[in-house]
């Protein structure tokens, strides 16, 4: 009923927006948000193919992705808060110690 390419295009749109956000945003939390976008795009993809292939495994996998995303956000925010404590700023481009 829903044509697959449309689902996939929607998924890629979300993913590309997420890529832009990861590359271009300064605030660490904004970056995390963009990562969430990318993960959601992957989920849409998975569900789309699960519907197409009539396999529940896709949904199970998407469930796991959600779980992992939640864990990741938790840790990520903990790190961001730690970073904020030490540096009073969470601009990603100011945290560039691993440089020349």
């Amino acid at each position: 009923m829903i044509r697959l390419p449309l689902v996939l295009i929607f998924s890629s749109l979300l993913f590309s927006a997420g890529v832009y956000g990861v590359l271009a945003r300064r605030n660490a939390i904004m970056v995390l948000m963009a990562i969430e976008l990318m993960l959601n795009a992957v989920n849409v993809n998975l569900i789309g193919f699960a519907a197409q292939l009539k396999d529940v495994g896709g949904q199970v996998f998407a469930l796991f992705v959600i779980a992992v995303a939640a864990a990741e956000v938790g840790i990520g925010l903990a790190i961001v808060i730690l970073l904020f404590r030490n540096r009073e700023s969470i601009n990603v481009d100011e945290v560039s110690l691993l440089k020349w």
Partner: protein, 667 residues
Amino acid sequence: MVGLLAAETAEGAEHAAAAANWFVQNAWLIPLLPFVSGALILFFGARTPGKGPVYGILAVFASFVLSLGVLWSFVQGGGEYERSIEWFTIGPLHLEAGILVDGLTAVMVVVVTFVSLMVHIYSLGYMRGDVRYTWFYVVLSLFTGAMLLVVVSNNVIQLLVGWEIMGVCSYLLIGHWYEERENSNAAIKAFITTRIGDVPMMFGFFALIAATGFTTTNIGETTEAIAAGGVSTLFVTAAALLLFGGTIGKSAQFPLHVWLPDAMAGPTPVSALIHAATMVAAGVYLVGRLFEVFVVAGEDVLFVVSVIAAITMLGAAILAIAQDDIKRVLAYSTLSQLAYMVAGLSLGEEGFTAGFFHLFTHAFFKALLFLGAGAVIHAVHSNDMSDMGGLRKKMPITFWTMLIGSLALAGIVPFAGFWSKDELLVVANDTGTTWLFWMFLVTAFVTAYYTARMVLLTFFGDFRGHGEPHEAPASMTGPLVLLAAATIGVGFLGAPQLGAVFGDWVYFGHPHEAHFVSWIAAISTLGAVLGIAGGWALYRERRDPDPMQQALGPIWTVLIHRYYIDDLYMAAIVRPIRDRVSAGVNWVNQNVIDGIVNGAASLTRGLSHVVAWIDRNVIDGAANAAGGVTGTTGGLLKYLQSGNVQWYAVVLFVGVIALTIVFTRVA
């Protein structure tokens, strides 16, 4: 010589005509012994009691004995002997070391060893206390060996070796007392003047070698090649004249005679040995040994030779009458007598024997006269006859022996000089060379005159000098007596009345038959007596100034200045070369040659600057550039590691896109 010592093998060639006895076959010992003694005196002389002469005397005495043995072979009728060993070969040219012993050689070795022996013994007394006593004997031995080497050589190169050694020894001995500038100047003058004669002589030798097509240096073979007619007349003439150049130099003929009077600066024994009896005779010997060349060259060359001899003969004799220094008188006398010998040879085959006979006799009485003069000088401590006079009573042995020598020189019968001069006159007459005949005669007159003058001024009248002159010691008078005996005796070897055996030993072509011509003998005796009378008249009583001086007036001045020849040479040759040419050569050396060298150095320095620039900029530049490139690249690449995580993410995604393209499009 060493080669001869090293190999008595069958490597050599041996030619003998008739019986050649042991002495002849081993004649190479004769020059060897003095060389050995020279070395011994050099190394051990100072430590030997007596300081060294003993080696020299023993060696020369041994050589003298050997020489007598050689002569004995010829007395017995033996013939020519040649023996050689191959030294080495350059291409077609064979160089050998060898001996050639014929009558001429035999006579020469006897003369040289005998006179050398007398001089060795004489010098024991004369040179006693000298500052370089041992060295004197070293060079004396060396000289004797060299002269003997010249005389026994069978090839021109060996002869040349001996010739040059003689030149060096003469230089060393003339300049023996080199503390005086005058003496060393005289030595240099002698050496250089004879050198000027030696160079043409060497070219003459080369001509000889060339005539054989550069295959051999052997005297016999080269002269044969010339005689065989394989070369042009011009070539032979040139060769003869070039060889004669050596004679002009060594035997002090005009125009290279200038060194001999100055050579009197050396010790008197040296003058006796070298400049009277032996070395100056070597030039005459050269002509005789290579006489074939002169004969083939023809009349014209011989005429040139006789002209030069004639000029020297009379010119020197006239100079002798104006000298105050007794040694100078004898020096000019030697010049004149040498010219006699050369003139004799220039008369061709006939004159060969006569010329050498005169050489033979002259050696004895001239050596005698010099040694006697040496005794006189030793007694009065002055060379000048102005400081002498009346020594007849005080030095009897010296007087009588010198008198004998003087009579021989003047040509009074029965002394040696008479026979030899007479022979020359006979030959001149026989060959029809009338002008030379009269030259001989006139010169004989002058010779007698100045000889008388010398004897009178020295031994008669009142003593004009200082101090108390006394007779010389036995070491000096002994040789005088022996030489006087020889002077009396040897003349008879050429006397026609007694068979003139000398002509059987020394000849060219065929043995010479000497004959006695009474009118010639009469004329020569008359001339001599007149000369003596003239001298007696003028110099019986010593008068100041010299009576001839008043008589000749301005000519006397010319004589005193030796015809101004020395001054001419000085101005025309010596000064331009010494001052201009040397300066010029020096300029070339300093500026051109050193300039080239310095230029090369500057060029190299310049090149090195270029190389350094290349090294610094190009090579180091490359090295530095390599580093620089790396640095720059690193500088650029460092931006990849910005530390900015988002930048890394960009790179990551770009990589993903690229891989996607690769895997879908390319794969």
